[in-house]
Symmetry: C2
Subunit: 467 residues, 2 copies
């Protein structure tokens, strides 16, 4: 080929070299320039097009870099062999059935995951954020420690020690953007054949984090004290995932006897651990908070996990995991290459929020607020007692209603939905239903995110629906 | 047991009920109160201690809740059976050999991961952050869409379309706190037997994210065009992980012919995909940026991954993944339960940074800055050309030096270290060395994070060390 009839335009808004590059590229893609065909020399083309030689060179270099043409030393430029069709789809794609799932439409939602943000000290948070931004420098924008900033880890350690009796060093803490992230780090610290035991019912998300990743899982029955340790022993599991302070969803508080049994089980083999998910332990309305299981562990057997999602705000994507020392050693050797998932500015803001005392004040305020809602809900539900047993109270942000008579959970959920009220069925938290053991229909009512007015109206409608 | 001799103190700072609770708990833990032993009634104890009956009740309730004692209806309170010893370790633990690994001590570090933050528009970022904080409300503190806020995803889509030719809908984008998080989401979308193919050498972190999680992996040789597709075909892999715009660490740009071969391979079976890691494509110093592989994909075969770590700041923990529609369908069905890993405030700030044009201005400025450093480094390294071949230039934030003579990489690294200069050995990025194919010793020099002065001095010292 000796000639390329490229029409160059000054008003296309494109550089001359771009126009040349795009023209030749199109010719190649659409097959008008064939494999091994020779391009004109830069000199020839620049003369032909009346542009500078460097303009043509730039176009050729781009084509070279993208692999459309090849340069043979002393010989010139040739079209490369390209397999398949190169089609840039410039048309804006249409959305075909991939709309984001729509939110639920019920007016009164007794959600067990919502929290009450109406009392959040936005001004304090904003003030802290502003102060930190004023001082923000290069360092705050560079990658920090994979486990999280030491200052924040020290604050978390102090808080966990004081509030939950957790004994650890800040070096054992890993900060991450939510429980999911932290649980995924565990995937890398444990053998792929490690068998996980979960309570049934359990927090389905945690279950799926391991089960869907291919870890073998076992489901262990619960009695009124929590996970049945005898069944756990039979299961062959190495890891037991429990929520001793306030099991989700049953609300069971694991008594000290069962805790010691569980720790004794873990102590029975080197590779056994207990994962303690302490997701809502901040909220206990009667007496002192119950210390964590980790606080009773003298043999480095508890992996402790908690989050600021409920105690600060769901959008504050900060959770923490305390690794027992044997796992910390593995983490240090194997998995420190994962970068931290929380921005350093956010870590600094949260750290200040804790250190300034604002966190504790907020927790105290919210304990009162939630206690008020909790007491009110129990009062409102008193007329339900003839048909339902109410359990899981005294702690956390949800309670359970168990029907005394034969009926189905879905039926109750549907009846409520017809009145515009959303309640949650226990069966959604069961991984596999044990057929032998007849389970009473149970509903979960979360109240944290509801106003008192909404609760009143919601319970009124539930009464109409069910009684 | 009929009597408990508890010494109550008004000045201990503890509530009376707490003192009673702690005394009885200690008696049980230390074995002085035995299993099944009966506690005094609340009435008897309150009389004996001269406190109100409700104070004793509160202490008993706490002991009940924690499972130290049991209430038998109509009979009273009994000590529970507790297996094992309950010891709260109150002593501050000592740090035993779990110190955080220390940072490197070299004075001139040619790091391939550092970036230059000196030009970052901190003021713009702070201003945007402040404005967003002023308007921040309840909604911004509640949990957002698991895939990230739609506004941010729309901005990312626009940017990717304009700058990288990526064709997608915002519904296909998942925002996450770093590549690691996003790659881990892929674990849940793919069959556990899925075989991954990586270039060798490759980005070791990505390799380990899959290999350490138990996915079968294959290493595929590279030629001057990138991953060898013939070898890929033989490997039986379903997923090919590539960096076509600027391979790490070799700096290879995959030509269009190889890209089409790769896409053709992926099109050959339903479960085949290409992961395109476009980690530093923003920085290309000659001509136009090379469009993404995704832009040539007409069959929904490319999983596109990128990050703001290099283009904005490493501490901004935001990366994005574009899922092809078949995988999006699986994600929608299976994995939307994972919460977003980026706080909504951060998402909003980044979105404003992009929408306001500040991002583009910053990118343009940095392209100039890095080009300057890049050109300077190449000039400084000219005297090295008698002993080294210099490659991987024109794009990205690192270049390669390949020794012409026989020597070992570690030797060169050590010689540099003795002069206070840190350079990086290619072999650290090789997963398994192919013994048959003799590889020339190659060093990686990143320059983004160095000042011109540091580069000059660093290269001077390298000259002394090596030539």
């Amino acid at each position: 080929m000796n000639e390329l009839t490229i029409e160059l335009s000054d008003c296309s808004g494109k550089h001359l070299y771009e126009q040349i590059y795009e023209y030749i590229k199109r010719e190649i893609v659409e097959g008008r320039l064939r494999t091994n065909e020779k391009l004109p020399s830069t000199r020839a083309l620049s003369l032909c097009l009346q542009v500078s030689r460097s303009t043509v060179s730039l176009a050729y270099e781009q084509l070279l870099a993208e692999g459309y043409i090849d340069a043979k030393r002393g010989s010139g430029f040739y079209v490369c062999k390209i397999d398949g069709l190169y089609r840039t789809k410039d048309t804006q794609q249409k959305e075909e059935n991939i709309r984001t799932p729509e939110a639920d439409k019920a007016k009164y939602v007794f959600s067990p995951t919502e929290v009450d943000m109406s009392q959040f000290p936005f001004d304090v948070w904003k003030k802290i954020s502003k102060d930190i931004l004023i001082d923000a420098n290069k360092e705050l924008f560079s990658l920090g420690d994979p486990q999280g900033d030491m200052e924040l880890r020290e604050s978390i350690r102090e808080y966990l020690h004081a509030a939950r009796g957790v004994n650890c060093l800040p070096q054992q803490i890993i900060v991450g953007a939510g429980n999911d992230c932290l649980l995924m780090i565990l995937h890398y610290l444990l053998n792929k054949e490690t068998i996980f035991a979960f309570e049934n019912p359990t927090y389905v998300k945690a279950y799926r984090t391991f089960a869907d990743a291919g870890f073998p899982v076992r489901l262990i029955s619960m009695d009124e004290s929590g996970m049945c340790v005898e069944e756990l022993k039979q299961s062959g599991a190495q890891i037991a995932y429990v929520m001793p302070s306030h099991q989700y969803p049953t609300g069971t508080v694991m008594p000290i006897g069962r805790r010691m049994e569980l720790l004794k089980w873990a102590g029975g083999a080197k590779d056994r651990y207990v994962i303690e998910d302490d997701y809502d332990s901040e909220f206990r309305y009667k007496g002192k908070p119950i210390p964590s299981l980790q606080s009773s562990d003298t043999e480095e057997k508890v992996i402790y996990i908690g989050t600021f999602s409920k105690s600060v705000a769901p959008a504050i994507r900060v959770a923490y995991m305390v690794l027992p020392k044997p796992l910390l050693t593995i983490y240090r050797k194997e998995s420190r290459f994962f970068s931290s998932t929380v921005s350093r500015i956010d870590q600094r803001i949260l750290n200040e929020f804790i250190k300034s005392g604002a966190f504790e004040r907020y927790l105290n305020r919210m304990r009162k607020v939630y206690r008020g809602k909790h007491d009110m809900l129990l009062t409102l539900l008193r007329p339900f007692e003839k048909k339902f047993r109410i359990t899981g109270e005294n702690a956390g942000l949800h309670i359970l209603l168990t029907a005394k008579e034969e009926c189905s959970e879905q039926e109750l959920v549907l009846k409520a939905a017809k009145k515009g009220v959303k309640v949650f069925a226990m069966e959604d938290n069961l991984i596999a239903e044990d057929q032998k053991r007849k389970r009473k229909p149970t509903l979960i009512l979360g109240y944290a995110g509801m106003t008192e007015k909404e609760m009143k109206k919601g319970v009124e409608l539930l009464y109409e629906a069910w009684l």
